[in-house]
Amino acid sequence: MKKSKALSRTVWLAIIAIIIILVAALSAWYLMQPKEEEKELTVFSLWSDQEEANFKEALARFTENTGIEVKHVAYSTNELLVTVPTQLEAGEAIADVIIAPWPSWILDLAADGLLADVSDYMDTTKLPETYLDVVSSGDAIYAAPFKVSGKPGFWYRESFFADNGLTPPTTYEEFKTLLADLSEIEGVEAAVASGDGTGWPLSDTTEAFIIGLGGYQLQENLISGATAFTSSETKAVFEELGDLLQAGYFSVPDDWQTQLQRVYDGTYGIYFQGGFVTTISPFSENLDDIGFFPFPETDGATGSVDYAVMPAATKNMDEAQQLIEFLAGAEAQEIMVNQGGFLAANSDVPESAYNAADLKVVQFMQTVMIVSDLDDAIGNPFQQTFWDQLKAFWVDPTMDLDTMLQTLQDDWTPPSS
């Protein structure tokens, strides 16, 4: 091995040459790329794949009507949660409109003047008051409700139930019997499928129990802080849920989408999920064979609303306002409803626009109190903690409830309003 101190000149020059060539080549390639049309508006949302394709339909209509081009960028939950505050804090609005389902996150940003008041760009008589209240502060409304998602209940395959002589339960006792019956069926690994993701499918299921066993008022009290997580009524709900988990009625959490297939296959019997599953295969192709039953005797259901917000610092104020107005209106929302798996916030959208399965959901949602999603309403740091604790609870239901409930209580903060 050469022990000389000086690196061989040739090798050194070769390396520099390689780097220069690389950079030059890439620059040339880059400059030769067809320049992407300058989109006038940029929209961020959590929607990808099918949901994104559906959303782009509505955006296309907007462009038709106004001639304004819109670019859409999909983000994952964690990314969006961090990216947007960072951008707004930096004073730059890279997105002109952001679609997000977190009312407290919205209000938190609005409190620091980072979001624009959009009350002038929507017809508030056509939009549910409860949805507007959670994103309002004083006279200002900071978000336009666009999409309503309902979490109506436990989904199942109707022919599977028929073949096994099962019927949807109407009381809680019948529900527990159903769980036991499902577990007995050959081929069924667990009565209830558990979804995985950042944690939200488990929180949806848990909230169904809170509302179902404790009433919608309990959920609202937990959100507002009127009732503590460590209270006996809350603990009772978790104890009941824990018993069912320990009885093995729930599957191991796995990718929430895969679980849909497994429910359809008969590996799992029922699955608590939002109404949007009607847009996802295999449910979407078999809308006549799927149905849901609400948590027996429940008086409420969580609905979450996807809101459109506008940064105060957006560079395209006029165009962004037009987009907000469009999204809050019936025309945009009807387009979305027609594609399935979408409940409109705007009451001007006709019932005939919905498909069979969605119509059942819409009609159900009209019979119960719509409550905010627990963790979306309280916000961070509670939301992260809630999701994380539930993930742990699902895989270890014997964990100490007092500790868990205390952890949740510790991270509760009053929802900003």
Partner: protein, 295 residues
């Protein structure tokens, strides 16, 4: 050429001083300052620090004391990382350095082991996630082959196992560093010492203890210090796998600081965490810094 000059060297040093002051020195001082401020930029003393310590996400030794599985809080997690990762990667690195000294193709093997140090830690995290995956991961594949199929699971999905899984995974990544440093250290030991020891009839173990280890002291200081610093600053791996979850079981200080600053936009508490992190860093690096300055 020890010339007494002022203008020339300061001219040479001007860009350095400018950049360092603006982007390093001032920010450090500023962060400490911010850590004492509250929501409305009012002075709140040590409130931010107290508040951070009161969070279960940061400091929750109860579980640990009772022998339960994580989460124990970010501070403790970093501590466990140090306690497990440091001795393991140091030992493996030294062992490999010695083992590969006279092996044919040793250089190639060393490069292979070192690869983990050269890749982005985001990719490192993805690799670990892959290895630990329930179906696609080699760990579970191996367990199934040796008949322990019941134990298989996605090891990073559970609070009980994620911390340990990540720590061991980072041993795989970081051993290359201690190996390379020790290799260089070993090469620097004059052969005469070993020969003299042989002539004196010293056993292998005695040679190791009396000659190798002391001669490797500078290398050991570097390995220990750099490893400690790296363990305190773990971020990318934890972010890409579970963002600190599940149940906060993989939360670490660097990540917590980031979420405080850029998710919750709470700069005061974030700065408090950063300052505590830096105090620890300084503390651990003090000895090495002292030695570096001695010359």
């Amino acid at each position: 050429m020890n010339l007494r000059q002022t203008k020339i060297p300061l001219f040479f040093l001007a860009p350095t001083i400018l950049l360092l002051t603006l982007f390093v020195i001032f920010p450090v001082v500023n962060t400490i300052y911010i850590s004492f401020l509250g929501e409305e930029d009012e002075f709140v003393g040590l409130d931010n620090y107290a508040e951070v310590f009161s969070r279960r996400n940061f400091w929750a030794p109860q579980n640990l004391v009772e022998g339960k599985p994580p989460p124990y809080g970010a501070l403790i997690h970093n501590g466990i990382w140090i306690v497990l990762h440091l001795p393991l990667s140091l030992f493996f690195g030294l062992a490999l350095a010695i083992l590969l000294r006279d092996v044919k193709g040793g250089a190639v093997i060393k490069s292979a082991v070192f690869l983990g140090m050269v890749i982005p830690m985001i990719v490192g995290g993805i690799l670990l996630r892959f290895v630990y995956d329930d179906r696609a991961g080699i760990l579970n594949g191996f367990l199934r082959i040796v008949g322990l199929g019941d134990l298989t699971r996605t090891w990073t999905a559970y609070p009980q196992t994620i911390l340990l899984a990540l720590i061991l995974g980072t041993v795989w990544i970081w051993t290359g560093f201690s190996m390379i440093v020790y290799s260089a250290g070993l090469e620097g030991i004059p052969k005469e010492l070993f020969e003299a020891a042989k002539i004196d009839g010293a056993s292998r173990w005695q040679t190791f203890r009396r000659i190798t280890v002391p001669m490797l002291k500078p290398a050991t200081i570097i390995v220990i210090t750099m490893t400690l610093l790296w363990e305190l600053k773990i971020f990318d791996i934890v972010w890409v796998i579970q963002q600190g979850g599940p149940g906060g079981a993989s939360m670490v200080m660097a990540l917590m600081m980031f979420l405080e600053a850029f998710l919750n936009r709470s700069f005061g508490t974030a700065s408090a965490i950063a300052t505590m992190l830096t105090v620890l860093t300084f503390g651990f690096a003090a000895y090495m810094v002292y030695r570096m300055v001695k010359e």
